[in-house]
Subunit: 319 residues, 2 copies
Amino acid sequence: MTMKYFLIGGAGFIGSHFAQKLLKDLNCNVTIIDNEISGSKENLDRLGILENKKLDYIYSDILDVNSEMLDLEGSIVVNFAANPDISLSNEQPTLDFDRGTLLHNHVLELCRKKNVQQLIFTSGSGVYGDRADKFLNENLGNLNICSPYAANKLACEALSLAYSNMYGIEVRILRFGNVVGLNQTHGVAYDFIRRLIQNPNKLTVLGDGYQSKPYIHVNDVVSAIYLVSSLKGKNIIVNAASDDFINVRKIANIVINSLGLTQCEIEYGNTPFGWNGDVPVIRLDSTYLKSMGWNCELNSQQAIEKSVMEMVKRFKSEL
Amino acid sequence: MTMKYFLIGGAGFIGSHFAQKLLKDLNCNVTIIDNEISGSKENLDRLGILENKKLDYIYSDILDVNSEMLDLEGSIVVNFAANPDISLSNEQPTLDFDRGTLLHNHVLELCRKKNVQQLIFTSGSGVYGDRADKFLNENLGNLNICSPYAANKLACEALSLAYSNMYGIEVRILRFGNVVGLNQTHGVAYDFIRRLIQNPNKLTVLGDGYQSKPYIHVNDVVSAIYLVSSLKGKNIIVNAASDDFINVRKIANIVINSLGLTQCEIEYGNTPFGWNGDVPVIRLDSTYLKSMGWNCELNSQQAIEKSVMEMVKRFKSEL
């Protein structure tokens, strides 16, 4: 039987790449619903799937849709929707609530009413809070939430598990490191490239540049989502990240070299974090997901290098 | 300087008792806002504070109020609002969301906009999920959420901590065992009394009666809230419960004896839990709060006995 997937925010960064894998490699039926706030048809076109016959595309906000309007039966539902710019939280803390917890609660109700068997939620390392350079596994205690982004991710996880226990929906939660790749719309290397295209002579960095985090290429994210989707079990919560990390100073140099700039001045800030609510040092332990057969093909530096190459090519073609 | 408190859901069970302490023992200024869905002016009257001159009473839903309508400056804000009947979750899972996470997010925005210095949130043991007879301290790991009630409590905790970190609001979170006392509107002994007044010959118990949990009298809850409110510190998360526990069979006998019934038949169910989402065995470790000077005056049995006496007197006078 052909697998059916229903992707909320499926025209966004991670969603579009996952849709590509489902349509091109796995011959699945895919429905995407996207409000095109940060997602776009261009993302799908760039990956060669916009005209795919097995793709249904709904241009709508999931919050405007009720269960009677959707054919969800037999689909695996993946919620990729989120406010993609977590640094906006400081001025607009309700963004993460409205596009996170409120929206996900609505998705859970849709799943409950339509007897959806599996729901996948894309969470993030923020749920662990600021733990400096400790490698974090999924069983960590202490609530240590630093930002609305993180709080809403955790809220969505908790609500998902409640629905799993009460209504038998299988839940898959993936806590990613920083995801990078062609269709990304935010992120440190993305910002650097955009700004250096505007002004190749000077790069201003938020924070002191020693923020160091794991980066994961979207291809490895896609394989992680598909793997946990295919595993048996009621609830599965996994980290998905490279084992290592890279700091912002090194990323700045990779971007500058990739653009072939030789005269660029870099100006660093003097705070250890990039913005209020940022967690400057993150390490994730993905042993559990690896024990289930996942392989992270690129380490942090390779993921950054590959995504920078992809983005430089994309932005140059758009100039 | 006279302390000012703003109590959301302050006409409800725990809120009314806390208001009584603030007004009668501590001479504070108190504003209560309550939508009277489960709270009531009768609760305040029963505690002798309805006409207190230091009490301002606003009959309104906090969700209908914006920051410009409120004089919150200088107040400690306590959010007691919640769906009080957690067993309703099964049929109406959005109740806990609407009266929990959605409402608390609104409260946090009010606090942010009015520069509130301290926010107190009344959480519950549900955030730990089902851990059988392990004594649970505040640092426990693993997300183990069983019900919408629990998920929404955890969501509120996480959002509170985010606002604390981003906007400097001091946050106090108290995770109570089952709270009992005069003004309660739900709970096992409350249900037994109500039903035995209707039919003194037979008591039907949800579950097999071996559900065993800690019970805490609302007077001990009130002292815990006031203590953590007076402590210094950015964020404080504490359990507040008696160290022991009592099972439902024993509670049934206490209620039957208190009503002077001799011919009552008890019929037990055959599930270990009372309803879908119920956690049948709970133990809470309140060592941390005790280390800060809290004393739980009544153990679980004493708390049940005192609350049953109080409620029997109340209901008989209402007949």
